[in-house]
């Protein structure tokens, strides 16, 4: 068990087109026993960061410390880490038992102890009945458990997981996600989890690191990331359906800040944390923060339904207003028909405002 300090980690790959910055000055402190997710689109540097922690990749500059000990130059085998790969990477020619105990053999753990640990892990992950099978004779979920077991059996200081659930079908993925959460509750090892699935990150993590183009965008608890995204990229990446974004301008009218977009004028709360000095801005509002209101309600925005989708217990309505389109989330009982005229009400205290319109537009409130 150890805390992990990532200190100004930088990684460049040399390519024919010049240097590619996979990771730019990543700094992060992970507490002992914490579950931290690195999340972002493919190519954002999350896997590179994990591979550098594992020792499979050498950083261009920066350091990694486990429990205060600088391990940047150590070989993977000297780091006391364990890793679960997206492909599981089970040794195909070995049985489940041989797969599980390979790491123990390499560390010259005596046979009685190996047998005890294999039995213990087998019971914990419910794979005890398949010790003599080869990986190809296992189902996807069973392989996943063996891969987890092979990592757990060594009592690693740090547990690294690289998209471990992405090869499972949807139903099994939800199941294994819950098992993984329960497992972390039980073993309390420091875990670093890489995923492109924001839902996995939200459900599993103590803290989430959102990354894009090799740059850390925001670190925080899942609820912080969801309710107070630091910039437009984070706001759009986290949450399904995505946060609605309306581009426009902020101006001061009658002493109060007002957002003006195509067909939308929203008075912002009187005392925003930071008042923009006017100019281009993006208004963000989550689909669940848009209400259907009476046409004569104050601030009501006239709109028209284009498509309405039933998603189990709720409905997503695609609504056009002004020049753009937004998604509104309602309970399934709210039935709207294409072409129907509606009025939208935005809750002022649930609005997000970003300075500028690019994906790095910083949150103003």
């Amino acid at each position: 068990m150890a805390n992990v300090r990532i200190d100004r980690l930088h990684k460049e790959f040399r390519a024919s087109t010049g240097a590619v910055h996979a990771l730019r000055e990543l700094s992060l402190d992970i507490a002992d026993g914490e579950f931290v997710s690195l999340v972002g689109p493919s190519g954002c540097g999350k896997s590179t960061a994990l591979r550098i922690i594992a020792g499979l990749e050498t950083p261009t500059s920066g350091r990694i410390l486990f429990g205060g000990r600088d391990i940047t130059g150590l070989e993977p085998r000297d780091r006391n880490i364990a890793m679960v790969f997206q492909s599981y990477a089970l040794y195909p020619h070995m049985t489940v038992r041989q797969n599980l105990e390979y790491g123990l053999r390499k560390r010259r753990v005596p046979k009685p102890e190996r047998d005890r640990k294999v039995a213990e892990i087998g019971a914990m992950l419910q794979i005890a009945g398949m010790f003599e099978r080869k990986p190809r004779q296992l189902s996807g979920g069973q392989r996943q458990r063996v891969a987890l077991g092979r990592a757990l059996i060594r009592d690693p200081e740090v547990f690294l997981l690289d998209e471990p659930l992405s090869n499972l079908d949807a139903k099994l993925r939800v199941h294994m996600r819950a098992e993984l959460a329960a497992l972390h509750q039980k073993v309390r090892t420091t875990m670093v989890y890489v995923t492109h699935d924001q839902l996995e990150a939200l459900t599993l993590s103590d803290r989430i690191v959102v990354m894009n183009h090799g740059v850390m965008q925001q670190v925080g608890r899942p609820e912080e990331i969801y309710s107070r995204p630091a910039n437009r990229f984070v706001a759009e990446f986290i949450g399904t359906p995505s946060m609605n974004m309306i581009e426009g301008e902020v101006s001061i009218e009658g002493g109060r800040p007002v957002f003006n977009g195509p067909g939308v004028a929203v008075a912002l709360p009187e005392a925003p944390p930071r008042t923009p000095g006017g100019g281009q801005a993006t208004l963000g509002v989550r689909p669940e923060d848009i209400a259907l209101v009476a046409p004569d309600a104050p601030g009501a925005i006239p709109a028209r339904v284009t498509v309405s989708e039933l998603a189990g217990p709720e409905r997503f309505h695609f609504v056009s207003m002004g020049g753009g389109s937004v998604i509104v989330r309602t309970p399934a009982s709210t039935v709207l028909h294409p072409g129907e005229a509606v009025s939208l009400g935005l809750q002022p205290d649930r609005l997000h405002l970003f300075q500028g319109t690019g994906e790095d537009a910083a949150a103003l409130r």
Partner: protein, 272 residues
């Protein structure tokens, strides 16, 4: 139906092309000397005889030649696999400046004609005291078997998922440990196939064996068999008997490992 016929017809033509010389060789070795030259030729011997095989062992040193060949070929195949596997693995896995150029150089070395190498090698080996020895000859065979092994095994290693090695490295293995424990078992079919081909090249090699070995007691099969040809007379029956026996081990080897050559690599460890 006509398509099926065409496919099998074509296969039959190819089979004849490949198999007829083998068939003729075996038959000739089983015909009495008088029947070998009969016109029109007999496609099945009128009289079956083992006389050539008997005289092969009675009158010639075929047994010695065979054992010499076996020794040289096993030695050179072992060298080629030992060095070639490490080299191919490095070419497949390590990043480095000039790696691609080096890989192409290996192919170039493989295509280099032996006839151009044999004289410089002879001069070099004489200085080093490596002529007239099986060790030296097997080293000389590395000039073609090593590039071959490296070229083919590189692709085999490249097809082994890199995750497996990385998992082994994290589990506590060294580079060589990961290669031995995890990568080589996946590449066994490739190693067997490449090894057999490396052996075959050495087994059939004539020029190096002729030039680098002058001691009669150290001769290998191909130059040794040439002594059955004299200026006045060629004993075809004897040559065919020797050729048949020389072909037998390779045919057996291919038969035994055919299963390996067609079975894919152990699927299932990764995705699947």
């Amino acid at each position: 139906m006509p398509r099926l016929l065409r496919t099998y017809g074509l296969a039959l033509v190819l089979l004849t092309f490949v198999a007829f010389p083998l068939y003729w060789m075996t038959l000739t070795s089983l015909k009495p000397q008088t029947e070998v030259f009969r016109v029109p030729p007999t496609f099945l011997p009128a009289t079956w005889t083992l006389e050539h095989y008997v005289s092969l062992f009675r009158l010639t040193d075929f047994g010695l030649l065979f054992m010499n060949s076996l020794k040289v070929c096993l030695l050179s195949t072992a060298f080629a696999l030992g060095v070639g596997i490490l080299g191919a693995y490095s070419l497949a896995r390590f990043r480095g400046r000039g790696k691609e150029a080096y890989g192409r150089l290996v192919l170039l070395a493989y295509m280099f004609p032996g006839a151009l190498l044999v004289i410089p090698l002879l001069l070099l080996f004489r200085e080093l005291g490596l002529t007239n020895g099986h060790f030296g000859l097997s080293l000389a065979y590395l000039t073609f078997s090593l590039p071959f092994v490296m070229w083919v095994m590189r692709d085999f290693f490249a097809s082994v998922p890199i995750d497996l090695e990385e998992a082994a490295l994290i589990d506590g293995a060294t580079r060589l440990g990961a290669l031995w424990d995890v990568v080589l078992p996946q590449a066994v079919p490739g190693i067997i196939a490449t090894g057999i081909f490396a052996f075959l090249f050495a087994w059939n090699e004539y020029l190096f064996a002729l030039v680098l070995i002058s001691d009669e007691s150290l001769r290998t099969l191909p130059p040794g068999m040439m002594r059955f040809v004299s200026t006045t007379d060629t004993n075809w029956g004897l040559i065919m008997a020797a050729s048949t026996l020389a072909t037998l081990p390779m045919a057996l080897a291919f038969g035994l490992v055919q299963r390996y050559l067609v079975t894919g690599m152990g699927a299932g460890g990764v995705k699947g």
